[in-house]
Amino acid sequence: MSFRFALVGNPNCGKTTMFNEMTGSTQYVGNWAGVTIEKKEGKARKTKEDIRIIDLPGIYSLSPYSMEEIIARDYIINEKPDVIINIVDVTNIERNLYLTTQVMELGIPVVVALNMMDALEAKGDKVDISVLGKSLGVPVVCTSANKGHGISELLEKAIQVAQAAKGKAVLSDIKMYDEEIEKCISEIEKKLVSALKEKNVNPRWAAIKLLEGDEKAKERLNAKESLIEDIQLYQEKLEKHYDNDMETVIADNRYRFISDIVSKAVQKKFKGSELTLSDKIDKVVTHKILAIPMFLLVMFAVFQITFGAVGSFTIDWTDAFINETVAGFATTWLEAGGAAEWLKALVVEGIIAGLGSILVFVPQIMIMFFFLSILEDSGYMARAAFVMDRLLRKLGLSGKSFIPMLMGFGCSTPAIMAARTLENEKDRRLTIILTPFMSCGARLPVYALFTAAFFAQNQSLVIFSIYLLGIIVAILSGILLKNTVLKGEAAPFVMELPPYRIPTFKGLMIHMWDRGKGFIKKAGTVIFAASVIIWFCQSFSFSLTMVEDASQSIFGVVGTFIAPFFAPLGFGEWKSAVALLTGFVAKEAVVATMGILHGVGEVGEDSVELAAALQASFTPLKAYAFMAFTLLYMPCLAAFAAIKREMNSWKWTLFTVGYQTAAAWIVSMLIFQGGRLLGLN
């Protein structure tokens, strides 16, 4: 037998952790709402039956409000999974059960997983699951997904339920509404049964949705005008009776039903509303004056550790390994095999120099993301979004834009996709335009390379300032765009703040390993191909003959042609121009190009350190202007494709990359020319 189980639950209730436990995959888990925005499917391990688990985005209710809620709701209603596993964060049971009350009505078998039981027990509270199960009319299983407890029981239960139901609709006979409403529902239901026979939906669910006046449901059910009008009469009658609109009345009824169950099934050790530890921490980190300086301080500390002693040590070590051991071995091996000069050059001066100049930074990048993961997993980043809301609102964005922007520090592509969680189209566009200004991980090797060569004394401070520069440019751009092309009100900001959690070692390791693995994988594929092509373009001329002098090569000619464009920014020589050009493929390619063009990797007498080679053609001021340009100019090809997809318009896509490149040029020019006026070098 094969079944499909869908995981449904509130954001941040542990669905993805549950999914990982069930399927053995290592999906990204974060401690904030909205980490999962697309549905994911996996096969359950350790079960005899063939079971597909579908992880849906977290939702608060089945009334769609934002994109991720629509994805989740559409999946449940259209694809009809065999069982819905409704994950309930038991530490926040009343709010979580609201979704349960809606899911129960769909006519699809439901199993409730009371998750985070360990956290509840730690608080000293108790839940009587038999009372809970009886009152809800669905099976209830206790789990602690983060510890792996209760998962197999949950799956077993779900399989039982699926086998019992055999694809037929199960109708819950729980009556959760007031008598008057129930009476109307059953009357409408009767009318619907005849009117909607072919539609394959649960009539009770349809009746409730139509009574609520849910527009999307009306559209879907495609009900006759006369029927809608008929139902409208019921709605008006009830609204008059309760002196409130129908939606609120239904929501109120559901919450009352839940409160009733919870008071019977849950025993709380502490009643009352004294401040929890989380609240006390919140009072400090969201302090009126200290909040923003504290955020900056925390971020600076991360950079200080990453680029301080620990980070530099890893670079020296990996550098020696790649440029001496690996390059030396390759040279010896190729010479012994009787390889031609061109092949030796391709391998050593092309591939090893190109890949090596990037792989050097893998450990440093992993260290940085280790610390950022601590901040995310602990729940601090969600507070940072709240703190930043005030700042973002000044640019006409809401704090919700902060999350895509924060993800932009990892990689622009998923961050641009995450902008989907914004309901307002103008906000979404603006967020997409601004997100690439957040410096992504791929740009880090460029800064690491240049700061090591020119700002060895205060590397972390300079890199931190580059990150800040990105944020400042985003702020200024936000103000500019909001007052010109993207006028409009910012959407309201409502976000659940997760309780602080101590990050698990396993979780941190998964995050760090993912980063490192992704980075190496990209080096092995995209950067490898780029290195080969870069090497080819700098070794051959347009007539496809090998050249001695690289300035006669394809890149030399192209670079010389576009170099004047960069002259006002201080780096108007062809090598830098070409490096920036290749950066469009992937930002790391800037470093790879520099490595290849400056002849790193050649072992022997004329071997040069890349840093030393750069010092010959750059000054600290020029290096800074170059880093600023790398930070701001149009994002890589993958991000470009993502922008095109999310904007769904060529006009906006070209505007976005055009704006970014213009901003990069202006900012770099101001830095270089301004610096020169101030007498800097």
């Binding site: 704090g399 309201p492 900001f493």
Partner: protein, 71 residues
């Protein structure tokens, strides 16, 4: 009175929500409906962290002004 007037640490009951329909629906999913008690944990230039049904929610000033509460 609007929620913005409630001082931190005090508890009140939600009376009405004046937000537009889609926002209102979202707030209902989060437990913000008339009759529910709400308290302010901390305030930062008008933006609030509130406690509703045991969960902590961050609300910006605009929404807080649209929520009417009574003590």
């Amino acid at each position: 009175m609007p929620l913005t007037m409630l001082s931190p640490g005090k508890e009140a009951v939600i009376n009405a929500c004046r937000a537009k329909d889609s926002t209102k629906k979202f707030l209902e999913g989060l437990g913000i409906i008339p009759g529910v008690s709400i308290s302010v944990i901390s305030e930062m230039s008008g933006n609030l962290i509130v406690s509703v049904k045991g969960a902590r929610l961050a609300l910006n000033k605009g929404i807080a002004q649209q929520l009417l509460v009574k003590i």
